[in-house]
Symmetry: D2
Subunit: 148 residues, 4 copies
Amino acid sequence: MSSTDLNPPELAEAINAKGFMGAAGFRIVTITPGHAEIALARRDDLLQFFGHFHGGVISALADHAAGIAVTSALPKGKIGVTVEIKVNFLSPADGVELIARARTLKMSGSIGVATVEVFSKSESAETLCAFGTATMRAMDLPAGLRPR
Amino acid sequence: MSSTDLNPPELAEAINAKGFMGAAGFRIVTITPGHAEIALARRDDLLQFFGHFHGGVISALADHAAGIAVTSALPKGKIGVTVEIKVNFLSPADGVELIARARTLKMSGSIGVATVEVFSKSESAETLCAFGTATMRAMDLPAGLRPR
Amino acid sequence: MSSTDLNPPELAEAINAKGFMGAAGFRIVTITPGHAEIALARRDDLLQFFGHFHGGVISALADHAAGIAVTSALPKGKIGVTVEIKVNFLSPADGVELIARARTLKMSGSIGVATVEVFSKSESAETLCAFGTATMRAMDLPAGLRPR
Amino acid sequence: MSSTDLNPPELAEAINAKGFMGAAGFRIVTITPGHAEIALARRDDLLQFFGHFHGGVISALADHAAGIAVTSALPKGKIGVTVEIKVNFLSPADGVELIARARTLKMSGSIGVATVEVFSKSESAETLCAFGTATMRAMDLPAGLRPR
């Protein structure tokens, strides 16, 4: 399939600007077909009891990066929605920014599987703080939501 | 163990008031040792592209409910932190409120496992919209964070 | 859908008699649409290093029970194949028999999700030793494999 | 920690020879601290209904490889036991041999997390047929089971 038949980056930007993604401040760093890197800066309303990024926020970022990675390799008009996600928390997410890097392992019919590494970035280092796997299902994007 | 040796409900309230939990509006409905029910009202900044609750927000609520369920059955001064969580999304979370109901399946040494059902509540019905399993690890609550 | 349009129990028996299932001794206890109970007696070649049932054998039994539960609620000629499975091991599986009880949480299009409880049965008690969740995908049963 | 303080390869061989591992024919290819590669040749009693390797057998191999990977980086006398495992099935495992390659992502206290890629090997190619993540817990090896 030619890359002009795939979803354009504008779709990811449109998804990213809405609802929770926009409000939390998810920021697309790079997208290539099957891959996505999404960043999220630290903010008090994204933390948990100990002052680290909340596990649910990490899961949300991982979920979103996996969805963008899978969607970016789908034909125009299809979007990946999450069937299930599994995240292991590996070390405290106490940095100033999170970086999620997702890659599609396999598309098989309408099912796609992606892995995501989430790094906690301090001024001097990136530490792997979470690892996830997500199963996505391709569905038709409702006409009203298609980017022009 | 007598229930007076367990974590008091005040700990869950303290956790709930902070960071993402407080900002998103997580609301404790009931807690009994090993069980927790947490609600979350619909708000634009908690939704995804299609206008339903964001999967990441659902995961965060499930994670939090599982943590409170496990923590509520731990001795005073111990808190359950998430080792990993897995969530299946079963139907669109398009209601006016989410309700997460978590129960501890098993505590074994310092490891606890909980399941969580998340319901999307409309004016007339509750629909199971997600199902999760979480593995928790008991750790010592830092002295400065213990409720008095 | 009338129950006469669903897969007959003979399909589960045919699946169960083959390959690993037959060789390990998987035994169907009961099947109703969406539910399955499968047993497996202890045998030296199903154990791990400590002399308990091997985790992989427990996963295999859970996977199989989930597949039968989902398949039993599918129309004739469709079979559930595993997209992914997740199993938590809760206590040593040191009984004389394992019993897996699976139930379908949700069918949504061609995707089904089931939970499975696995019990280790001694002479006097049943102990929950594992809990799993499986995502299944309905596919067409190849003509040569359909029970007549 | 010096490598002479870690578990010796003999422990993995001893584990591998027992019960289900020995009966199924699990074969250690290579072990280095934190990594393991385990092979399994096709045999009729390891297959499912369609004549491919059974998903449960794939899960068992993945579980075992993850356990050996984590155990090989533990101090002498400690063994990794599985808390939970999650496996995605990506393509039919229709080769003549399975190869599981596990690596430890993180050890944190007594908890280790490993990822596993499982390949189906035909005469001409290796195909990624499954991907798993396992959480392990270090426990003391009972005295009677320690290799001399």
